[in-house]
Amino acid sequence: MLLTVDHVTRYRYDQPVRGVVQSHRLTPSVFDGQRVVSWSIVVSDASRGAQFRDGAGDALQSWTVKGPVSSVEVRVQGTVETHDLAGVLRGHRETVPPDAYLRDTPATAADLALRDLSAAAKGAEGPLAAAHALAAAVADAIAYRPGVTEARTTAAEALALGEGVCQDHAHALIAVARAAGLPARYVSGYLFADKTGTPHEAAHAWAEIHVSGLGWVGFDPANRCCPDARYIRLGSGFDAQDAAPIRGVARGPGHEALNVSVTVTETAAQAQSQQ
């Protein structure tokens, strides 16, 4: 598929701040399932800072906005050609060993209920079947419902509520996978909402589980599937905070208001008749 993204994030400060520094993970990952046709990131009145690829394979870019400033706009626009690899992250270069993703964070720590849920992996034949079973168990246990959880909700809290959004699904799946001894991580990206299915959230998140022999495989419990050509992958981390596409700090006492709009559309391939 040819997917076009338009992603705008606006920060408004009720009092002008002295300056803003941000670190972005906003560039599509490099792997066999996607190829960037065009991509641009524009930050209002900002100067570019450090730029590099980290050990997890993510492209990071810093920005500095000099104050006084009362609003910052980050606009990401681009087109990516995607292929369905059934969730397998093939051809992705990274140096962080999978075992590093066996570590818990506060958001992904497994309580008793999550440990019980991780029993879904028992009896599965091999790690891939176990991962599928865990993803299904999380999808069954947490219904999609926006507005009941917030950014700081942990996997354990979301499971107790039985409701949440893609971030909660991903955290819960990471928690149960790690509890079952499988390395797991949080992935942020975009999702194209097509007419046939009912996927949620264009700015999306899912989990990857490391399956020996296959490598990292994506699972999206929110949509009960593995990432396919409708997905664009940006970056990963231990949890949502660690994998955030934008992390920033504003210097000053002002209160920050955030507004995000994301659209992902399919660009028709411009077929030319060949006579």
Binding site: R48, A50, D54, G55, A56, S62, D99, A100, R103
Partner: protein
């Protein structure tokens, strides 16, 4: 009955390094000694050196007792120690470069993957990044105890930001002021070059992007920190700026320091704040002590951070057991300094040994600290030993055991006169383009009779440490 190695006396004869100290000691009647002791304390107070060592907590304004009786090594004793310390510092750095790179030692099955990659001190954020000159730990503080004329054991490695070096420098300074004659009579190797060597070590690891003389700063959490005195002391002696997070900012891929003449680029940061706090955009988002964006600049080669973020994975209690293995694996050498033998109660053979010898051993919780959840076999009653035995059997994986170490003693001024007291040693090894070790370190002394605990929070003091010239 355990015998302890006395570093001054072998029976009635005086060991050579202390030969000239016997007369000095005898020439000090109690009155003069008390006067000198009061003078030393006044000097320490005037300088303002009152901070707690090694993050032990306690009252930061309390003066750590200074014992005037120096601890002495011959040059040949020292040269073996020096080789052992440098060997260890090289191996620890090789290990860090490896585990953030290809992880050969783990692939080779010499260290369990879990101990490294699931360690809280392992920083995924720096995987694949090689710091300038391949150095992660620029100051390696190695805690040593002596158990015999040629027997030294490493208690622990400190690869992050070992503190206490200001005591090494101040103890010497004060001894030289109070007893100039001693320094004429004994040929004592100097330690005063340490700040300059430290500065050169930092300059030698400046990033490739730095052209010209590197700008070095010390990043402190501020004056509420117990070691703030040491931060400002070292900044002064090195002739570099002492800054807090708010004095620095990132822009254009570099780190800048606010000065009255405008921003000045910073090339090397000696940070005395923990990894978790150095950059809210990479680690703890609530940190107010760090510099937002610092880690991005670091990882793109715009600035060097000393010690490198992630260095802590080499000085963990569990990883410690494997340092001799690191020396063999990376350097192809046999370790010159020994580890304290450690039994892992989680292993059935070890557990059997520990349970059979419980009354002789020190047993610790794997993640315990500060002397809690600990059994000192020889100092415990039968009931205490039996109660602890039940705890070990209930959860063997939670315990390690070590022999009760017979720490050496040196003569120490005490209320009754002069008596032997137990000591340890922390030398500070510098690793940059070269590896340097000043001849000396910090000697801590357990002032309470019979005590083997040198921590200042439990009645420990400090001494000047001499290494004699050939």
């Amino acid at each position: 009955m355990t015998t302890y190695f006395n570093e001054m006396y072998q029976g009635k004869s005086v060991r050579p390094p202390y030969a000239r100290l016997e007369d000095w000691m005898k020439s000090m009647p109690a009155e003069l000694r008390h006067m000198k002791q009061a003078e030393a304390e006044a000097l320490f107070r005037r300088i303002g050196i009152t901070f707690a060592v090694y993050g032990e907590g306690g009252d930061p304004d309390r003066l750590i007792p200074f014992d005037m009786f120096p601890r002495v090594f011959t040059s040949s004793e020292w040269s073996r120690l020096e080789r052992g310390i440098k060997q260890r510092a090289r191996a620890l750095n090789a290990f860090l470069v490896d585990v953030y790179g290809r992880g050969e030692i783990i692939r080779a099955g010499r260290i369990p993957s879990r101990l490294v990659y699931q360690n809280a001190a392992y920083e995924k954020a720096v995987a694949g990044f090689r710091p300038p000159k391949g150095v992660y730990s620029h100051i390696v503080g190695i805690d040593l105890v002596r158990t015999g004329p040629d027997d030294f054991c490493v208690l622990e490695d400190n690869c992050r930001t070992p503190s206490g070096v200001s005591y090494m420098l101040e103890n010497r300074e004060i001894m030289m002021r109070m007893f100039p004659d001693l320094f004429r009579e004994n040929r004592i190797q100097p330690v005063e070059q340490y700040p300059e060597l430290l500065r050169r070590t930092f300059a030698s690891v400046a990033p490739d992007k730095c052209d010209g003389e590197p700008t070095v700063v010390i990043l402190t959490p501020g004056h509420f920190n117990s070691a703030y005195y040491e931060h400002s002391f070292l900044a002064d002696l090195m002739g570099v700026e002492l800054v807090e997070g708010q004095d620095l900012f990132v822009e254009g891929g570099f780190v800048w320091m606010r000065t009255t003449e405008g921003p000045r680029r910073v090339d090397v940061i000696y940070r005395r704040i923990d990894d978790a706090f150095i950059d809210p955009l990479c680690f703890r988002p609530d940190s107010m002590l760090g510099v937002p964006g610092l880690m991005d600049v670091y990882r793109s080669g715009g600035v060097t951070i000393c010690s490198a973020p992630g260095a802590g994975v080499a000085d963990d209690k569990a990883v410690y057991t494997f340092v001799p293995e690191m020396i063999r694996f990376y350097l192809g050498e046999e370790p010159i300094l020994q580890n304290v033998p450690t039994w892992q109660c989680g292993k059935s053979d070890d557990l059997k040994y520990v349970l059979e010898h419980l009354a002789e051993l020190v047993v610790k919780e794997v993640h315990g600290s500060g002397g809690y959840g600990m059994l000192v076999g020889p100092k415990s009653t039968k009931d205490q030993v039996e109660a602890f035995r039940a705890r070990i059997i209930a959860d063997p994986g939670n315990y390690i055991a070590q022999p009760t170490l017979a720490l050496s003693t040196t003569p120490t001024f005490v209320a009754e006169g002069i008596a032997p007291r137990h000591v340890d040693l922390r030398p500070y090894c510098l690793v940059g383009e070269r590896i340097e070790l000043v001849p000396g370190g910090l000697t801590r002394v357990a002032l309470t009779e019979g005590s083997l605990v040198v921590n200042s929070s439990q009645g420990g003091g400090v001494k000047d440490t001499w290494v004699l010239a050939e």
